[in-house]
């Protein structure tokens, strides 16, 4: 953490005691003070993000009786899996967790398969209507999900895929497509045309050049887009609730069943919702921070 906050002054430049006495130290003191303030700011922001997570996790792993105690202990003193265990054992939770994962990865695959070629075309080719196409992409997101979902439900009912994970995958894939396209397009722009041409000269067909050279170089962008897609799908409740009855995704299930549940279960539900998304981001982070140690040049 400290290293990334370094303001660029090399470590060894701080004057030693033996130097000339008449050095103006005020700028150095200012520099150090600013650095300390930045550190403090970072800590504050981190706490702001992490504290709720901690409290939810703590409550999820505390027994019901301990949770009702006063004053509430903020340290993990008496951990128990009673709450989370009961939550996971309740009807429909594990199944909906499975549904959520299927929908999340399904939407991810769908939006990548459709979105990456579109992004490549946007990045590489000049074509008529390129700007309006880009604008049009964002219009998908301008419509409220409820407005989209009701006619979709009608459509899926007549197509016979209502109340299936496919229906939700299609919805989430479509919702994620604009971000997937725009994010990966911006990364494709940064992959030099020269490198692609070199691949062509050295024996690649256009498809091979894409697979062997362009796609690997664009991986960070594809990873970022996939995080967006997965988290979007994982958190999306409204559309998923409208398009399914029995095959609910986790948030939809939690929303409908936990409204009447005791407080402790809500914490457990919250924890179960947060963890998979966090895990996914942690895994994808590896691809986000470019694996060759530099950004693309």
């Amino acid at each position: 953490m400290t290293k990334s906050l370094d303001t660029g002054v090399p470590a060894g430049t701080e004057p030693t005691a033996s130097g000339p006495a008449d050095v103006d130290r005020a700028p150095l003191r200012r520099h150090r003070r600013n650095r300390a303030l930045i550190q403090l700011g970072c800590i504050a922001v981190t706490l702001f993000m992490a504290l709720p997570l901690y409290l939810v996790a703590l409550a999820a792993f505390t027994s019901r009786s301990a949770l009702d105690r006063f004053p509430l202990s903020l340290l993990p003193t008496d951990l128990s899996t009673e709450t989370i265990g009961r939550f996971l054992a309740s009807t429909g939770i594990l199944a909906s967790l499975g549904n959520s994962l299927i929908v999340g990865f399904g939407a991810l695959v769908l939006s990548t398969v459709v979105g990456v070629p579109a992004a490549y075309a946007l990045a590489r080719y000049a074509f008529r209507g390129k700007d309006s196409y880009q604008l049009f992409l964002l219009f998908t997101r301008a419509l409220p999900i409820v407005v989209l979902s009701v006619p979709l439900a009608q459509l899926f009912l007549s197509a016979g895929i209502y109340d299936t994970t496919y229906a939700v995958i299609l919805l989430h894939g479509a919702l994620a497509l604009p971000t997937t396209i725009l994010i990966t397009a911006s990364v494709f722009v940064s992959v030099p045309v020269d490198v692609e041409e070199a691949a062509r000269v050295f024996g690649c067909t256009p498809a091979q050049a894409f697979r062997h050279v362009v796609a690997p170089m664009a991986l960070p962008g594809i990873a970022a887009a996939s995080i967006f897609t997965f988290v979007l799908s994982w958190n999306e409740v409204l559309g998923a609730s409208i398009l399914t009855l029995n095959r609910r995704t986790l948030p939809a299930q939690v929303l409908t069943s936990l409204n009447e549940s005791p407080l402790a279960y809500r914490f457990a539900g919250g924890f179960a919702l947060v963890v998979p998304a966090l895990l996914f981001i942690a895994v994808m982070r590896r691809w986000l921070t470019n694996m060759w140690g530099t950004t693309i040049r």
Partner: protein
């Protein structure tokens, strides 16, 4: 190994009005090193890209080794290329970069390893084989790009300003190294550059291009000594060739107010022309020296010592407005701004150009 034949290549970029290459024809013999030289926008890179298959010509024909490749995809032409920006693959190690082309051709792994080792040895990259390009300096990256190109055993080697991103010192040392490598390989090579020094030092032949056409094609010294027009003379050489207005009248050539008998091939000529002379072909002497009495008087404006010579910017006063002459004097020559010197334009160092067409008037 193969010869290249380009016939009547025309290319206009979409949206452009000017022809990027305008009916260019050029033959490159098997094993020859040809340099395409010209200022930016002259069409030299377009010509190279058409050779590589990265652009298709609007008209014309390209054959390599007797085969018509005009509209073939790059990967079907058996050529390799060094790019100006290096274009090494950042997500592959140096080893994988060099072996990339061979791997794409499905050459057995053992053979690839052998070729990569050979090329790495030749370009002093052996210690870096397992590094990623991001960990290399610019010069090393360019070596990777060259190694990647030479392992291919391609018919034709194309180079697009491969040295222009290197710093001056490195450029000079790598230039000699590159020349030796290409000489030893004996591959037909087309090299694009805007640097006249590179062109003169590397090429078996130099093709000077301007506005989409080849204006002069010849071996480096011929192009340097006998520029086909004033553009070539002004583009090649550092400093570029000097040009002075002159007239021929009654068999007398008058340059900068100084008359002398015109050379034989200009005897029939009458009227204005332009005289070109290289800075190092101008004799110079102090105004009081006795041996330079028949020279032109000139005033020294700027003195620039370059170490190996002293570069003088002089103005010759006669005529409407002073003509400026750059003179390369021996390093021992001493002069100060404001001094008057005598310049001796030796007859065999002068080149004559038509005042209107700017084309050379050769015997």
């Amino acid at each position: 190994m193969a010869e290249i034949r380009m016939e009547g290549l025309v290319k206009t970029y979409p949206g452009g009005t000017e022809r990027a290459t305008d009916d260019v024809s050029l033959d490159v013999a098997d094993g020859e090193f040809v340099v395409l030289l010209g200022p930016s926008g002259c069409g030299k890179t377009t010509l190279l890209r058409m050779l590589a298959g990265l652009e298709f010509p609007d008209a014309g024909k390209i054959t390599i080794g007797g085969e018509d490749v005009t509209y073939r995809a790059p990967q079907d032409r058996n050529l390799s290329m060094v790019f100006q920006s290096y274009a090494v693959f950042p997500h592959r190690t140096v080893r994988a970069n060099i072996g990339f082309g061979l791997a794409m051709r499905k050459v057995p792994a053992a053979q690839i390893a052998q070729k990569v080792a050979w090329a790495a040895e030749l370009l002093q990259l052996t210690p870096y084989l397992d590094r990623y390009p991001a960990k290399l300096s610019g010069g090393q990256r360019q070596r990777v790009a060259v190694a990647r190109a030479i392992v291919m055993d391609a018919d034709v080697l194309l180079m697009d300003e491969p040295l222009s991103n290197l710093d001056a010192l490195l450029r000079l040392s790598f230039r000699a190294e590159l020349k030796k490598i290409v000489q030893d390989l004996g591959t037909t090579t087309v090299y694009v550059t805007h640097d006249q020094g590179e062109a003169l030092s590397l090429g078996d032949r130099v093709a000077v291009m301007r506005t989409g056409r080849i204006v002069q094609l010849g071996d480096p010294l011929e192009v340097y000594d006998r520029p086909a027009d004033t553009f070539v003379g002004g583009f090649l050489g550092s400093p570029p060739m000097n040009f002075l207005p002159a007239t021929v009248h009654d068999g007398q050539l008058s340059v900068a107010g100084h008359a002398r008998p015109a050379p034989a091939h200009l005897q029939g000529h009458s009227g204005d022309l332009v005289v070109g002379v290289r800075a190092e072909h101008i004799g110079i002497s102090g105004i009081n020296d006795t041996d330079g009495t028949n020279g032109i008087e000139a005033r020294v404006d700027v003195v620039e010592p370059t170490g190996s010579a002293v570069l003088l910017t002089t103005s010759v006063g006669a005529g409407p407005g002073p003509a400026v002459l750059k003179v390369s004097a021996p390093p021992t020559f001493r002069a100060r701004p404001g001094d008057t010197v005598r310049l001796d334009l030796a007859p065999d160092a002068l080149r004559y150009y038509d005042a209107e067409t700017q084309l050379a008037l050769e015997p």
